[in-house]
């Protein structure tokens, strides 16, 4: 049995049901696991630990924007591990290292350790936001940063509610892609 699987899976199910507190709790726990995982992997292949936080954030965004791909009938940890490992391989490929450097561990590797030290990533959110198309930027600003409801954001920005939702979703994906590009350069 993987450590914490049951708890994480319950949190994930609640989060898929729209429970924001569970979602936050889940992301916080995962961020600690991801940090420990990436730190040890990067150290293992002789890469700088400073890339850790970038990877943690990219994986969190991926877990968030792709959470509809989790099948609640399946265990949660292998799903999260697959995303974490995919993002690591993608990162190494972008920064010219080979996939052979990333051994397949057991999925439990992802929840085996925790790391609480939240350093800052090299990513400047404000600057990345500035690169987004105006609609996405406004939608994310209202809904995600100012905490307005989708309906309020729609009134405030003159968009329809579904346009706000779509803009938030696309905006987060664009942010994730921008973080990726940031690291590659």
């Amino acid at each position: 049995m993987v450590i914490g699987e049951d708890e994480l899976r319950e949190l994930m199910k609640a989060s898929l049901g729209g429970d924001a507190a569970a979602h936050r709790d889940l992301l916080e726990r995962l961020s600690r696991h991801l940090r420990a995982y990436y730190k040890s992997r990067l150290a293992h292949i002789g890469r700088s630990a400073s890339e850790t936080e970038d990877l943690v954030q990219e994986a969190l965004i991926a877990i968030h924007t792709r959470r509809h791909t989790y099948d609640p009938a399946e265990p949660f940890t292998p799903w999260a591990y697959a995303i974490a490992r995919y993002k690591l391989i993608d990162h190494l490929r972008r920064t010219k290292a080979s996939r052979a450097d990333v051994p397949i561990e057991s999925a439990g590797e992802i929840t085996a350790h925790e790391d609480h030290v939240d350093t800052e990533s090299a990513v400047d959110l404000g600057r990345l936001m500035a690169q987004l198309p105006a609609k996405m930027r406004t939608a994310i600003q209202h809904v995600k940063l100012d905490g307005l409801s989708v309906a309020e954001a729609a009134v405030r920005s003159g968009m329809t509610e579904s346009a706000v939702k779509v803009s938030v979703h696309r905006g987060l994906k664009a942010l994730s892609a921008a973080i990726g590009r940031e690291k590659a350069s």
């Binding site: 924001a20 969190l60 939240d118 994310i140």
Partner: protein
């Protein structure tokens, strides 16, 4: 940016998620792709006009069972491979079963026929048309299904791409069967099976480029 700030950002106004979205999107793309492929075959090549003949009808049904069987299994595999970690819990080998089956049937039918007939049975009347049509007709279903898989999150891009090609190729072969009057089992095994395999290889080659996220 602090990771805690990011978590704040992501967990403000969390929306409920439709858990069946992945399978449904892929199934819809497959269904729409099938309709488009069938329309393309009927409009450009025309349907078979001999289906009133019992022998021709049985051959047609046999071909459709093979191609639709592949479509069905490939879609099930794909909706697993489209998810993170899907490759770790679904062995890909099972998908070869319909092909092993039809090759076995083809061998039996060749063995039971005099060797003088073999060339006609294998090459048929219109092998070139089959070889060209199936990959070309597969393009639209391929694009549609690829689009659906891109909305999910495959973590083994070569295999997810290969399965996408397999779905598209077998959809295309299903549509082409409505036109094609070459009915010998060896013909179907070689030219249908071969072109579907070709689509699968193309998908495997394109997967890592088209499916990155």
């Amino acid at each position: 940016m602090k990771t805690n700030d990011l978590i704040d950002l992501l967990s403000t106004n969390v929306e409920a998620i439709d858990r069946r979205q992945v399978s449904r999107t892929i199934a819809t793309a497959g269904a729409v792709g099938t309709l488009i492929a069938i329309a393309a075959v009927l409009v450009t090549l025309g349907g078979r006009d001999d289906v009133t003949n019992a022998h021709a009808l049985i051959s047609l049904i046999g071909k459709l069972i093979f191609t639709l069987g592949v479509v069905f299994f490939a879609l099930i595999f794909l909706s697993r491979y489209a998810r993170p970690g899907g490759e770790r819990r679904t062995p890909l080998g099972l998908i070869a079963l319909p092909f092993v089956g039809i090759v076995a049937l083809a061998s039996l039918s060749l063995l039971s026929a005099p060797s003088a007939h073999w060339e006609t049975m294998i090459v048929g009347d219109e092998w070139l048309k089959c070889l060209l049509s199936i990959p070309i007709i597969a393009i639209m279903p391929f694009a549609l299904v690829m689009w659906a898989v891109r909305r999910a999150a495959p973590t083994h891009l070569t295999r997810a791409g290969a399965l996408t090609g397999l779905v598209a190729g077998s959809i295309s072969a299903t549509a082409y069967a409505l036109h094609c009057a070459d009915d010998s089992v060896p013909f179907v095994a070689l030219w249908y099976g071969g072109t579907i395999a070709l689509c699968t290889l193309a998908g495997a080659a394109l997967g890592p480029r088209l499916l990155r996220w």
